[in-house]
């Protein structure tokens, strides 16, 4: 038990360090209170909210699909949310706004559910076919996004940034929107974490334990879609965090979904805050999309861990 407390301590210290990095480093060396409080703090907070949403979303998806490869990026959830977002923008719906969020959520849910039902055959879903159909839906949505963007021609650069994932520079409305979506998504997922634990025994066993697997899945997908929508509206389609957060945390905190949801969110928040700090500084005054850094730095790190602690995962 003491060991777990130490791990919590380490995680919180890491998140705080990332938060400090987000606030105290930036494209200008300035430590002016105005810049720290009015520019970097809101942006770091937005990165934390989006990162937490990604971590929680990944945790929910891996739990409900009982698939260590599931994540909002691979399952098409992020791309679906991105497609919804691009359509919303084309329709003139502004980013922090109810219509925008609705379309992004709808896109996320549609893409995820579609990928899931495509992969399902005879009441079973194999991990491989799930990932395959997810990748297909993801690339289809990605292609549609690019098509929309190229058809409009002028905004192609900014759309590219959106697809690669970069934390927005938003006002309070953006922060409130992201926080609301994160809380709403967690409200969907948190009560069913025990159910997800039971589901890990298999759908049939979960059914005999008095659960309704289909309802559970619907609820998890809805929650994951809302979380993905929160992440995408705040930071575009950032990959990797949703996949890595639950994985790494599972290796340290065990497979219980209740605790995993909390620590994955914390880890996601810390990861995106740190990545965004780097995104703003490495090529200052130019900005690198955080999603690019996530894949650049995160993927090799993840592979290294995978190779080292192979037996500890899932």
């Amino acid at each position: 038990m003491k060991n777990v407390k130490f791990k919590y301590f380490l995680l919180c210290a890491g998140v705080l360090a990332a938060c400090a990095a987000g606030i105290f480093s930036g494209p200008t060396a300035s430590l002016d209170a105005d810049i720290l409080l009015r520019l970097r703090l809101p942006r770091t907070a937005l990165a934390a909210l989006a990162g937490a949403a990604l971590g929680a979303c990944g945790c929910a998806m891996q739990g409900v699909l009982r698939n260590p490869l599931a994540d909002p990026y691979i399952m098409g959830t992020s791309a679906g949310a991105g497609l919804g977002a691009v359509i919303a923008l084309a329709l003139g719906l502004a980013n922090p706004g109810l219509g925008f969020y609705l379309l992004a959520c709808l896109g996320a849910f549609g893409a995820t559910a579609f990928a899931y039902f495509m992969a399902r055959s005879g009441g079973r879903t194999s991990p491989a076919s799930l990932v395959l159909s997810g990748v297909m839906v993801s690339s289809f949505c990605g292609a549609l996004i690019l098509f929309f963007v190229l058809a409009r021609q002028r905004e192609s650069f900014s759309a590219l940034i959106f697809i690669m994932g970069s934390v927005n520079e938003g006002g309070p409305a953006q922060l409130i929107g992201a926080a609301a979506l994160l809380l709403l998504g967690l409200a969907f997922i948190a009560p069913i974490t025990r159910g997800l634990d039971a589901l890990s025994l298999g759908e049939e066993k979960a059914f005999y334990l008095g659960l309704e697997p289909e309802k559970l899945k619907l609820r998890a997908f809805l929650g994951a879609s809302i979380l993905a929508c929160g992440a995408v509206s705040a930071a575009g389609t950032v990959g990797f965090i949703g996949l890595a957060a639950p994985h790494l945390m599972r290796a340290f905190f065990g497979p219980g979904n209740r605790r995993l949801l909390l620590v994955s969110s914390l880890f996601g928040a810390g990861a995106l805050m740190a990545l965004d700090a780097a995104a703003r500084t490495v090529l200052a005054p130019a900005e690198v999309p955080a999603g690019v850094l996530a894949a650049l730095g995160g993927a090799p790190f993840f592979l290294y861990l995978l190779k080292r602690n192979r037996h500890e995962f899932f």
């Binding site: 930036g26 200008t28 105005d34 810049i35 959106f162 090529l283 200052a284 130019a286 999309p289």
Partner: protein
């Protein structure tokens, strides 16, 4: 019979050879070609929309993805492209097309060089020299009087804070119009800036070259930025005259100089 046939061929081809058939795959080069009287062209890119005569000229794709088949079938004497010459040039040259890459213009001096180069290639060197000289003269006449405070300008090339650095053509346009690009010291062409670095450089004006209606006042600390506080956000009717290195540069400089003076 053979003699008659040969004569007929000569008659048909004679007039064709006299006028060069030229294809331009970049809007900037198209504008230069028409300005030095090398028009009408045999083909232009999908993006070429000036001068209005280009509307009736066959559209042959763009520099990155030209319609190679169509161009090869037209057998033009000359195809002008931009510096992005790798794949496009190789594909066209393989079909026996005389493709020539015109270097990217990063300054107005480059523009003058390109005008003269295109003049030489199209056999209208004298007119090109005159045009280059005329542009230089007109820009010199627009030179702001010394001693005046030089306003700083943030160039919005696209929404999401895409802007232009010191190696971009637009940066030189801003300078010739009497302003200073806040990112002129950045050795880059186009890049995504961080909002914090824009706030720190505090531009007096924001020159909007995209059609996106960015709401700058919604960004954090925008009240601290001179341009936003004083409402000096300048949309322009035609961004192409600012972005294309073409003879219309003079119009852009005159327009921008006017905008920078008017609201001072």
């Amino acid at each position: 019979m053979r003699v008659i046939f040969t004569l007929a061929m000569l008659l048909c081809c004679g007039p064709c050879r006299a006028a060069q058939s030229i294809v331009s795959l970049l809007p900037s080069n198209t504008e230069i070609l028409y300005a030095i009287g090398a028009g009408p062209l045999a083909g232009v890119s999908n993006f070429c929309d000036y001068p209005p005569e280009t509307a009736s000229v066959p559209k042959l794709g763009d520099l990155l993805a030209p319609n190679v088949e169509k161009i090869a079938l037209m057998k033009p004497d000359l195809v002008l492209g931009g510096q992005n010459k790798t794949a496009t040039a190789a594909r066209l040259r393989k079909m026996g097309v005389n493709f020539i890459a015109i270097p990217d213009a990063a300054t107005l001096a480059d523009l003058e060089k390109n005008i003269i180069l295109i003049g030489k290639l199209s056999g209208r060197e004298r007119r090109a020299l005159e045009l280059a000289e005329q542009i230089r003269r007109e820009i010199a006449a627009l030179k702001p009087e010394p001693g005046k405070k030089i306003p700083s300008v943030y160039v919005e090339a696209d929404q999401s804070l895409w802007t232009a650095g010191g190696r971009s053509y637009i940066s030189d346009i801003v300078e010739k119009a009497g302003g200073r690009n806040i990112f002129a010291d950045e050795n880059k062409s186009y890049f995504k800036a961080s909002w914090e670095s824009i706030v720190a450089r505090n531009p007096d004006y924001i020159l909007v070259l995209s059609r996106a209606k960015t709401d700058y006042s919604a960004l954090p600390m925008s009240a601290e930025v001179n341009a936003v506080r004083n409402g000096r956000i300048l949309p322009v009717p035609d961004a192409n005259i600012y972005l294309r290195p073409s003879p219309r540069a003079v119009l852009a400089i005159r327009e921008l100089a006017g905008l920078l003076n008017e609201k001072r």
